[in-house]
Amino acid sequence: MAFGAFGGTATAVAEPAIRKRSKVALILLLPGILYLGLFFLAPLFSLVLTSFQQPAEFGDIGEYETAFKWENYTAVISTYGEHIIRSFVFAATATVFALLFSFPLAYFIGVTLRRFPLVQALALTLVIAPFFISFLLRTLAWKQLLSDESPFVSFLNTMQLLPEGEHVTGTAFSVIFGLTYNFIPFMTLPIYTSLEKLDLRYVEAGGDLYASPASTFFRVTVPLAAPGIISGMLLTFIPAAGDYINASRDFLGSTSTAMIGNVIEANFLVLQNYPTAAALSLVLMAAILIFVSVYVKKSGTDDLI
């Protein structure tokens, strides 16, 4: 359900009773499925092949031959283990921050603004507004806003909150900040979708049964919003873990904040070290699939999309 939160109107879906078996289904499905086979599955397969390759014996840089070099994986993990761990720590931290930021906002839009449908719709537009301005430019905007000359950093300096010689950009803080900002809408929207349907009588019942507001919140509201929270966390964590814009040197990061995406990009596009890039991509994919498969098990395949 949750990945559909972006598909606009999340209406109650009434499955029509008649489902025919027919050749028409095949004609409708085949082109799209073939397309995904060719440009989604086949690329994953080429990644697997590439990840086992070894440098061609008399070849140039960037020339590789088919092999079965398992060592590529052990080499990648020992060389870039730090980057892999950093990616997951950054992505997980950004996910937590995005959740803390989004929950009250989603509650406000989904519950408090319930009586004003038009205002509610406009508030949702504000949440997705960052999507309408270029991802790269909004990240660069933060780079300028957090730079040494910015009013914010001057303020920190005059208050002596920032140790001398320290910067805000190019640090783990600014990268996590950027990741959080950029993926907040992915968190807010699914939580909103869950809270919008929240039946307030359950919350009232909690109060009637002498539960404190806090325990009503944690034992009634949060469990009812859980589907939205879980998909929001996935939708934030997945792109954050693979992102390489925020952590890039020209944006909010520095060489000491490089994430797995930066390493894949550098190895593939600059160093032409394709096997390393491929092996790293598959390690990232495998790690993400662990989280995703838990989600798939919980939601069942039919509700996936």
Binding site: G32, A141, P239
Partner: protein, 269 residues
């Protein structure tokens, strides 16, 4: 005292949300404001207000070409993805077929795969197959990641469609093709349009997958990425701001008209 805490408790969420909205809008406002900066070379320090960047948009080298490329890729990929995705969405809701779960999984996975993996995978495939990177490979890549989002969007619309309307068409001796063209398709249109807009937006702003598969071909985000190292021209801010305004107007107009229609229907009902 307790009255005060109750007052704060009641309005805290309003205050928090107002601040949250301001926070979300900060970099947007920054980008728009700096599209009016009389910047000359690097657009970092505010030097004064000018409209020149807006009126002489194509003066900055490569901006307009990159923008045109992004529009072209966006439109082509949107057209392809919308057709393929709508067909799948109809099949998913209306028909029974074997390997249904596998199909759903295949549609879900591209949305759950990090972009860097999708990008590197396609690039590895094109490399192995000896395909030259350029506009074509970018379009192929964008179409791929848009399909699933189209399916999700259109599927909701197909599912909420009343089968009785199509039955009525058949009862009035319309051929299956006529029923599809004159009943089904018009009813699905709002969903299809929403899906197309979403695809276009995803394609237009995509950088990661494009970067792996564009070769020498420059889209707008790729232009910004390359320019980031040596300073972004203010004209790039102009394009981003213009796109932002168009998108916002689109969304707000559609929301206001939906709200007005709902109100009218409520009054009638």
């Amino acid at each position: 005292m307790s009255q005060l805490t109750r007052f704060i408790g009641r309005y805290a969420i309003w205050l928090y949300s107002a601040l949250a909205f301001v926070f979300l809008l900060i970099p947007i406002v920054y980008t728009i404001v700096f599209s009016f900066n009389d910047s000359r070379r690097s657009n970092i320090v505010w030097r004064g207000f000018t409209l020149d960047n807006w009126t002489q948009l194509c003066n900055a080298q490569g901006v307009c070409e990159a923008f045109g490329n992004s529009i072209f890729v966006g439109l082509t990929a949107t057209l392809l993805a919308t057709i393929l995705g709508t067909m799948i969405a109809i099949a998913l809701v209306r028909y029974r077929f074997p390997f249904r779960n596998a199909t759903t999984l295949l549609l879900f996975l591209p949305m759950a795969t990090p972009e860097v993996v999708l990008g590197a995978g396609l690039a590895a495939e094109f490399l192995t197959a000896g395909v030259e990177k350029g506009a074509l490979t970018v379009i192929l890549a964008h179409t791929m990641f848009c399909i699933s989002f189209v399916v999700v969007t259109v599927r909701a619309r197909v599912a909420s469609l009343d089968p009785a309307l199509e039955e009525a068409g058949r009862d009035l001796y319309a051929s299956p093709a006529q029923v599809f063209a004159r009943v089904t398709l018009p009813l699905l249109m709002p969903g299809i349009i929403a899906a197309a807009l979403l695809s276009f937006a995803l394609s237009f702003d995509d950088f990661i997958i494009t970067n792996f598969n564009a070769g020498p071909f420059v889209t707008f985000p790729k232009f910004v990425y390359t320019a980031a190292a040596r300073g972004i021209p203010a004209e790039a801010n102009v394009i981003a701001s213009a796109v932002f305004f168009i998108a916002i107007i689109f969304v707000v107009v559609s929301q206001v008209s939906t709200a007005a229609r709902t109100k009218r229907l409520a009054r009638l009902g």
